[in-house]
């Protein structure tokens, strides 16, 4: 707001002198305040921009760890919960899906058959149900006869970590726990085979 600085009409010379020394001397508080505020705001938004740019986990980086509380009947090694770290040493195919997702149905059969093909070769397929109701998720899994480990994404934490923008999305994680590739949309057979074989060979 406006500073009421006394000027021409004021004949009080003492005041004027005091003003002059303030100007010539240190910065006025209003200047500091305004610039401080502007810089702080811009810095905040700029930092926000940079942060937001992080996006999803990139190839070659360590895949973010997360906890899974499996659906009944879809456990991994008969454990009720497990984390991604527990699976280090195996090739992991991490697939995000939802029962309300039309595109996910396109790849469901393929994922299941490929799982059956590689399950004894050190490959784990993990299904994460994104923002889905338990009933519908289980119904979907039954419909496609899925047998690989599946868990609901409680609190949407896993999707937040992996910066999911929709479903289906699939991440390929190597034996060393690093993200090797990412697919937006349904996977196809050739690509699936290639990815797994490349990772197994490492």
């Amino acid at each position: 707001m406006n500073e009421t600085i006394t000027t021409a009409t004021d004949t009080n010379t003492q005041n004027e002198a005091a003003e002059e020394t303030t100007e010539r001397g240190s910065l006025r508080w209003s200047t500091v305040l305004v610039w401080g505020g502007v810089i702080a705001l811009l810095a905040l938004f700029g930092w926000g921009l940079l942060n937001a740019n992080e996006g999803r986990p990139e190839e070659g980086t360590v895949a973010p760890d997360f906890e899974m509380q499996f659906f009944d009947g879809y456990q991994w090694k008969d454990l009720e919960n497990a984390s991604l770290e527990d699976m280090q040493g195996q090739v992991v195919v991490l697939n995000f899906w939802a029962s309300w997702c039309v595109e996910c149905r396109v790849e469901a059969d393929l994922l299941e058959s490929t799982w059956r093909q590689y399950r004894d070769q050190g490959v784990v397929f993990l299904g994460v149900a994104y923002v889905d109701s338990e009933q519908k998720s289980l119904a979907y899994l039954e419909e496609f006869g899925i047998t690989y480990p599946n868990a609901p994404d409680l609190g949407s934490e896993i999707s937040n970590e992996y910066k999911i923008t929709g479903v289906p999305e699939t991440f390929f994680i190597g034996k060393d726990g690093q993200v090797s590739d990412f697919v937006l949309g349904p996977v196809n057979a050739t690509m699936l085979q290639n990815e797994i074989q490349t990772l197994l060979a490492q």
Binding site: W100, D132, S133, L154, N160
Partner: protein, 161 residues
Amino acid sequence: MKKPTLYLFLLLSLLLALPAVAQEPVTDDEVNAVARDLYCPVCENTPLDVCPTQACQDWRDEIRMQLAQGKSEEEIQQYFVERYGPRVLAEPPREGFNQIVWLLPIAGVVIGAVLFGLYLNNLRKEGVDETGEVAQSTAPVPPPAADEDEYISRVEKELRE
């Protein structure tokens, strides 16, 4: 089977079915009352009671089921938060970082009011302090302004009587 056995069988089935029939179905309004305060976890800024997608329908069915089980609105909201995160609530949960949603505006208003009051006071004081006279002030009646206002101010002067 023989007729009496058949009739006995039917009677028993009816008796077993009675409890289910006796319970009243959950109305759409009851579901909507809960859904209204929740937001679709997937769509943008869409309350759950008006969201047309399949996913939202599934969630409304979920609410219906839980209401039928006798769960309260708070319990259902809690369930949704656990499964889908805090974004399903119409306002951020009042814990941790999110408390500043409310604290900041309140603090802002209070601090703003204090600063504003001080500022007004300052203005007034400076007006009176200088040489004991108020600068550029005349009689209680504001001086007549531009041409178009002169008429009005005359009118107002008359009205003041």
